[in-house]
Symmetry: C2
């Protein structure tokens, strides 16, 4: 019989387990108010044990950000690199769908939320996020826009405004659903919401043939 006492020996998986527990606790209480002992308990360890794997509480925060940051941005980058040349509009819609699906999932958006909350107090975290997430996202969006302009699918709008127009609604969606726990009104799935946003961004608010 495979023993499974309280004291398990799997030191290789420990760091990830601790980071997962740290994300949960940091996310619920914020970095400062989170207690290392709570993280330890959440990971099924004693407080002393987590200090075998991380030198400090702040190191857990750093590890967390480094682990999670960039995953979404890199996925977006790949999506754009693959899809944008052939069909920029389809890539754009797929990108928004991916963005809203991620931002609408509390498990996925926990890390970005944490970064938003703590970046002001930890300049190196802000810098890391800037280079590993924001810059990658910005480059991808610029490439997508350029591809669309090249094929005639998109107008040649300003790329910084484009970035804010695309990422912003996703962030707003995250804030409304995961921070303020707003009940969804009309569009229930993130994918539906992404479609509606894509419609607005692609076609604009004005009617095709102005009535005036």
């Amino acid at each position: 019989m495979t023993r499974q006492t309280k004291r398990r020996r799997r030191p290789d998986a420990r760091p990830e387990e601790i980071l997962a527990a740290a994300l949960t606790v940091f996310s619920a209480k914020g970095f400062s108010a989170a207690r290392v002992e709570d993280i330890a308990r959440e990971a099924g360890l004693s407080k002393g044990a987590v200090y075998l794997y991380f030198p400090s509480k702040e190191a857990m925060l750093n590890g967390l950000v480094e682990q999670s940051a960039g995953q979404l941005a890199q996925a977006a980058e790949q999506l754009v690199a693959q899809g944008a040349p052939q069909d920029p509009e389809a890539a754009f819609r797929a990108l928004l769908d991916m963005l809203f699906t991620a931002m609408g999932d509390p498990g996925v958006n926990a890390a970005p939320r944490l970064v938003f909350a703590e970046a002001a107090r930890f300049p190196e975290i802000a810098a890391f996020y800037r280079t590993h997430v924001i810059e990658i996202a910005r480059r991808s969006l610029r490439a997508l826009l350029a591809a669309g302009v090249a094929t005639g699918a998109f107008r040649d709008v300003d790329s910084d405004a484009f970035m804010r127009s695309v990422a912003g609604p996703g962030i707003a969606h995250m804030a409304l659903t995961s921070i303020f726990a707003l009940p969804p009104d009309h569009l229930n799935t993130p994918a539906d919401m992404a479609d509606a946003i894509a419609d607005i961004l692609l076609h604009g608010l004005k009617p095709r043939d102005p009535a005036t």
Copy 2:
């Protein structure tokens, strides 16, 4: 001679002064890591004195949110109520201008940033913000959209998607400039950025007469 020693008489302005100091310190360090003594020093008082005006540190946070919340939302509400019936498009542009000007100013966006960071840990703050800011903004945007649809200026898009499309870029702008301290690339003033976003939202990304 009117003495002006360190120990002044109670000016009745004290609560506001303390709240302003609290906003500064909370904004820089976050609620948990902020020390009451720092707030007192910032307000030019001793620690004991601030407890003459607020029963606890958390009460300062609450007072802060209650004081600052809704000012922008109410201004937006008024702007929409006045301008939307006659010229929805102009009201829309004015709204975006106001939003970006506010969100681009670190002094103004400090309170929203703080709420974003701490709302997860203080449910009543989240609830207060929901009813006093988000709901008001939502109502105003719905009214603006309805007015535009009535005059034929806007298409009848989904109102929740509309809200995210309008507010989101403003939040993204706040995050990029005030949290991640990104240097502006092309559009240097918030008003310019607002104009560019308004252009995208009004006309869409697709060319007016499709090339295909």
